[in-house]
């Protein structure tokens, strides 16, 4: 009976708009994007994989503080390497402009490889390239020492990494089908992994998505980390206030009007 009562209560209205940011109407819009993200994860989980072996895990992350933390991690990583610096700083801006981020990781690529001797990792006829560089006993890899001087603790089973690619591909295909903007990023994947998202994975890819008028992941300008919508808006706040106070009038008594054209000018 309770269910019947709830069904009778099926009424309401939802106002949705992308402006102002983080307003109730914008958060409702973000919730729509969150639904898309969940469907994208569905697709990732059922993507083709070698031997039908489950190896994909996902984290869906949203919210102002959560996305800001990811953006700052991407910025931190950007400054660790010259080749990452500019693109990753641009991509940190994209994090802040996203509605949701999906992290997709492969839980087996560093610990339980395919063991098929495919050679994709090291170009050899067996899995020796992988195992020789791992702490292992009879093919069981000890991953308890999680410290690494490298950003990613390779080598990885490349066949498993391939499975991750299929999962990311399926998530993106679904985004495209739903007409939601999404792109895959290494920077966000590495940041997410360092933050503990997809905790069992050896490699992680970040897939941010957004349902906005302008796709946040394409058509950027130079120095995007310095010149972007957030900065433009903040600069407007900076400039416009001062422009108001350099002169003034009491609008209740007098408002300046455009000069009337002289008759000669007509």
């Amino acid at each position: 009976m309770k269910k019947y009562t709830e069904d009778l209560d099926f009424q309401g209205e939802e106002y949705i708009s992308d402006w102002p940011s983080w307003s109730p109407q914008d958060i409702r819009r973000k919730k729509c994007a969150l639904e898309s993200a969940r469907l994208m994860v569905d697709a990732a989980m059922t993507a083709p994989c070698a031997g039908g072996v489950p190896s994909i895990e996902a984290h869906i992350v949203y919210g102002q503080e959560e996305l800001e933390a990811v953006a700052r991690k991407v910025e931190e990583i950007a400054h660790t390497q010259e080749s990452w610096k500019e693109p990753f700083l641009y991509e940190a801006v994209m994090v802040r402009d996203s509605d949701v981020i999906i992290f997709l990781g492969n839980t087996r690529c560093h610990e339980t490889p395919l063991d098929a001797g495919c050679g994709l990792c090291g170009g050899t006829l067996d899995c020796g390239y992988f195992y020789e560089q791992k702490t292992q006993k009879y093919g069981l890899v000890d991953i308890t020492d999680r410290s690494s001087k490298r950003m990613i603790d390779g080598p990885l089973c490349t066949a498993r990494v391939g499975d991750l690619g299929y999962a990311v591909g399926s998530a993106l295909w679904t985004a495209a089908t739903l007409m939601v903007d999404a792109r895959p990023f290494a920077s966000m994947g590495m940041a997410g992994q360092k933050m503990g998202y997809c905790p069992k994975s050896g490699m992680v890819v970040g897939v941010p998505l957004a349902a906005k008028a302008k796709n946040p992941y394409v058509d950027v300008n130079v120095d995007y980390h310095l010149i972007n919508m957030d900065k433009v808006l903040d600069n407007t706040r900076k400039i416009y206030q001062t422009a108001r106070i350099i002169r003034g009038f009491d609008y209740r008594k007098w408002i300046p009007k455009p000069k009337k054209p002289d008759e000669e000018d007509v």
Binding site: C118, L120, T158, L164, G165, Y166, V168, L172, W173, A186
Partner: protein, 279 residues
């Protein structure tokens, strides 16, 4: 005015569907934006060398045997699958990301290693893992595109191995094959083509070999019996672990004798195709 009936025109149309799928392959998003991907479409008589290579490999790899029998029987029935070969350049990094995923500290070190070992694996390798992600995303878009066209399909490493051995897409470092059609449900899953090609005993023995835990009796003694027959306790059966000369010999014979022999028969013709395209 016109009238179409039967399946023949569907088989012809598969090639057009494959062309649409290749568009999806090239449209697939990339992480690096720097991975070169190529695809080609193969069907009809041009499948014969591929099927021929898969035959002996099937003797040492069960999953290859099933792919081989399915494709061969469809082809022989006049229902040629259409194969899309998807390749990528992944053995050299132009990223300079030095992320360590490949097992080297820098991309420069990886490239030096790769120069010596390039193409040494059955499926290719060594690989930059970010480029592998780009490639497999494209492969996934191929599969997704095929499903959206409602064409039965399966992405197959077995096809990739055969096409790579034969020299298809010679400029690429890795290959994989997407088999499409014929127009029926479940060609590559459930596999009607293989009905009656395996016995109950063979199927059961595969499971015993692959999942021995299912058949292990009380392990407390340290040398458990294996329950492989109804009266498993009399006389008892045990499993052993050891080097199999027979298995390894067959494996080596297939990989280093039978496959190269077939490849030698077809290599010139296949190589000429790419040379002619370049002209």
């Amino acid at each position: 005015m016109g009238h179409l009936i039967g399946k023949e025109y569907c088989l012809d149309h598969l090639v057009d569907v494959a062309k649409s799928i290749v568009l999806a392959i090239h449209k697939a998003p990339q992480i690096t934006g720097k991975t070169k991907i190529e695809a080609e479409i193969i069907w009809g008589e041009d499948l014969e060398p591929i099927i021929e290579v898969m035959g002996p490999v099937g003797k040492v790899m069960r999953y290859v045997q099933w792919d081989y029998e399915t494709i061969k029987k469809c082809y022989e029935k006049g229902e040629s699958p259409v194969i899309i070969n998807i390749g990528a350049k992944v053995s050299k990094s132009n990223l300079n990301w030095n992320c360590g995923a490949c097992g080297h500290d820098t991309c420069k070190e990886f490239n030096a290693y790769s120069k010596d070992y390039k193409g040494g694996g059955q499926m290719g390798g060594p690989s930059c893992n970010w480029k592998i992600l780009d490639w497999t995303m494209a492969c996934d878009w191929a599969c997704a595109s095929a499903w959206q066209h409602r064409v039965d399909n399966r992405i197959m490493g077995s096809l990739g191995f055969a096409m790579r051995a034969l020299g298809f897409l010679p400029d690429m470092d890795v290959n994989i094959g997407l088999a499409l059609g014929p127009p029926r449900d479940m060609v590559y899953y459930n596999r009607e083509e293989m009905h009656k090609s395996m016995s109950y005993e063979m199927d059961k023995q595969d499971i015993v070999n692959c999942v021995p835990t299912m058949f292990t009796a009380f392990p407390g003694g340290g040398t458990p019996m294996y329950k492989t027959k109804d009266y498993w306790w009399a006389p008892p059966e045990f499993m052993g672990i050891g080097y199999s000369e027979e298995a390894m010999e067959l494996y080596q014979q297939v990989l280093f004798e039978e496959v190269p022999e077939i490849v030698a028969k077809h290599a010139d013709k296949i190589e000429a195709r790419y040379k002619n395209k370049k002209k």
